[in-house]
Symmetry: C2
């Protein structure tokens, strides 16, 4: 790998990668070779004949014909030279083999539109910035998983094919399933709650979720990676928030340690490990704060809107110097039937949204585990308990108090790296009009 070259002494090396750029000059040829770990300069002085004319020998002729993106393997003399801008090393070529020649016309350029870049995502992903995004995602996820493993969580793979809706019946994808219909899971909600009834205690899952959402915002996709956790024996949603904080601190700590410098160099962003505890503000209070800043949330219900989230995030950053804020105690009217309501106030729920740099990345809550209360809340929301049949069974044979959260992985990355859209940080984005590549 190219990143390992700098540690080697001068001598013969063989490396492989793709052609980033070719400078085919009269007396010398330069090739920048790239792999997933970095880039290195290859140099090939041209041979001249007795009259000083350039000779068409190898590898010069092959280099002259090299299309950008071609994958090659080269052998040559590694030389450390401080004057070489690219890492202080270069390789003087002895031989070059073209593994696959790219066609010369590349369909996208640095200034292509996002949509055009997504059409050619595999070329777009060759950019060091794009590659870094997915190495960051890998590091972030592994830090979360390591936390979970160290704390005795069980990893779930819940089914994505369901007999009925897991959230609202709107935004549901229907699948032809032999002689019947199946639906794609909108979240692992029901099944991670089932794990509580099964006595699994603490569970997590990182997997796809599907929403037939026709919207085209920068924050929505029809398929996204959902980061989920659910734990038994909580006293309230406060326990869930504490878990959530610790996970994010673990994730950001790992990303900063492994990629902090690269993120600063390529994205101009300083990764900040959040301090604990994250600020917590009840939603009603947050709306008052936003109002006092001159913004009235234009909604008929009790919810926030995206501008309100940006405003409260700005307030929290100014007041507490924090990029995260838990908005708590959402109104029962705008939360699903399975959110628990505190004993002393049936109008609110033991729930929260987590806002990061002005955008919601997660919803968490204590779940209602008492079958009679749960059934009543379902009916109140206009649901038919018959249709929830299998789900309600989970609560009839004993279940501990429990709660958890679901978090959009791409949203975390988008906001961490100050990107404008989750499309930039999703390997292959899926939207209402995008199913390819």
């Amino acid at each position: 790998m190219i990143k390992n070259l700098a540690a080697l002494s001068n001598g013969t090396v063989t490396v492989s990668g793709w052609v980033d750029t070719v400078r085919d000059q009269k007396k010398v040829q330069f090739v920048v070779l790239r792999d997933e770990s970095g880039a290195v300069q290859l140099v090939n002085p041209r041979t001249t004949d007795a009259d000083g004319a350039v000779v068409a020998d190898e590898p010069a002729t092959t280099i002259s014909a090299l299309a950008q993106g071609s994958f090659i393997t080269v052998t040559g003399e590694l030389k450390h030279d401080e004057r070489v801008k690219l890492g202080g090393i270069e390789i003087k070529l002895a031989s070059l083999t073209v593994v696959t020649a790219a066609i010369p016309e590349t369909p996208i350029a640095a200034d292509s539109s996002l949509d055009k870049r997504l059409d050619w995502r595999f070329l777009d992903l060759r950019q060091p910035k794009q590659n870094l995004i997915f190495r960051i995602q890998t590091t972030f996820e592994h830090a979360l998983r390591t936390y979970w493993i160290e704390h005795d969580f069980i990893e779930l793979h819940t089914p994505k094919l369901m007999a009925s809706a897991s959230e609202s019946r709107a935004e549901l994808f229907e699948v032809d399933y032999f002689d019947t219909k199946a639906y794609l899971a909108q979240s692992p909600q029901f099944f991670k709650q089932m794990a509580q009834s099964a006595g699994f205690g603490k569970v997590f899952e990182v997997g796809p979720a599907f929403r037939a959402d026709p919207s085209f915002t920068s924050r929505h996709a029809t398929e996204f990676t959902s980061v989920d956790a659910e734990i038994s024996w909580i006293d309230s949603h406060e326990d869930v928030m504490q878990l959530h904080e610790e996970l994010l601190v673990a994730g950001f700590t790992a990303v900063k340690a492994k990629h902090g410098e690269e993120v600063l160099a390529l994205f101009g962003v300083e990764v900040t490990v959040p301090t604990q505890p994250f600020p917590r503000i009840p939603l009603a209070e947050a709306k008052e704060i936003v109002k006092s800043r001159g913004y009235e949330v234009p909604r008929d219900d009790d919810d926030m809107d995206p501008e309100g989230e940006r405003q409260i995030a700005a307030y929290v950053l100014e007041t507490y110097g924090h990029e995260f804020v838990f908005l708590t105690d959402y109104a029962a009217s705008i939360r699903p039937f399975y959110h628990m309501r505190p004993e002393n106030d049936q109008t609110i729920t033991n729930s929260y949204d987590l806002i990061f740099n002005g955008t919601e990345i997660s919803t968490g809550a204590q779940r209602e585990h008492r079958i009679d209360v749960l059934t009543a809340q379902a009916i109140e929301k206009g649901l038919d308990p018959e249709e929830l049949g299998g789900y309600l069974d989970f609560f009839r044979y004993g279940v501990p108090a429990h709660g958890g959260f679901g978090m959009g992985l791409a949203r975390v990355l988008m906001l961490m790296l100050h990107q404008a859209s989750i499309r930039e940080v999703t390997y292959l984005f899926r939207g209402p009009t995008r199913l390819e590549p």
Copy 2:
């Protein structure tokens, strides 16, 4: 957690869990309390009045009414006593709170059929054996991921919604997708190959895959967790097999270290860490060996059948004392168009199946990365290159030599624990007639 009690000194403790059994005797009541970490005996001597008659006081009355499965929180005096069979400790009850009472009639018993147990999977999963399966799965996966992370792999989340088939057009689930149709990914094959063209180098994914397979065997599901890896710059499928071996050794080593004793106690199975290298036998030779053992594979094509796999596995176990065997060099006629064929023999492929305890758990191969050869092989297989459009593009702009494998997670667990069906080791099995719970 119950597993932590043994390390505590005698004194007051509070624990939570569900009721496993109640023995309501005349002079004393015993309750076995269970949580995800273990079980502990609770004891409550009955109070008697001056005449020696039992008094109906608390918590005695509550205990008499306790249904199995009810989740309770108890406080009492922990006492170490070697005579107590269950871990040498018991808790003398002071108080008991019922968190959720289970309904008294449990719909399944220890001898219920597998299908009935799956109907009530959340109760079935309360058994220590079932719980252990998913803790093993967690440990196994984390060991694989840790190997990948330490070796600079990038984790992918490839889309499960696709515009066309990723494998054969048979066994494809169709989804209503706004004004068009989408298909559920049968594997991440195309997208992990795309990562090679994108210069990601080494990638892995653990995620769902979908097959509209109407069969009811013990090895098939319509949705399963696929463990996938793909690496650049290989010389042949030998490099893929070496990666595959190292991953399995890492996984089995972790499982044996963390759960070996429990597996022996609950499943009667000794977890064996496989030695490297695993035996490798070309398929044609394997068929000769099987034949010499008196079994003729009853197939018209060049493939093995399940009995043939069991026979060759028995041979390998007898000959090499190994539970794994790579069957290599499968005929081109029975492999997908994207498997590479060696230069000197176009009738076979640079591919393998991995057999574990007599059953196939994985297919791996070097992929054909030369666009002209790849296109010719697709046409030879009766595919229309037009329909493969986006996939073939990945090879037109340069791509390194590469290969990888896909492995069924449930099959590994089934064979590791000597279970009869993947249904036992899948959190929620999905088959042609099973979409619930």
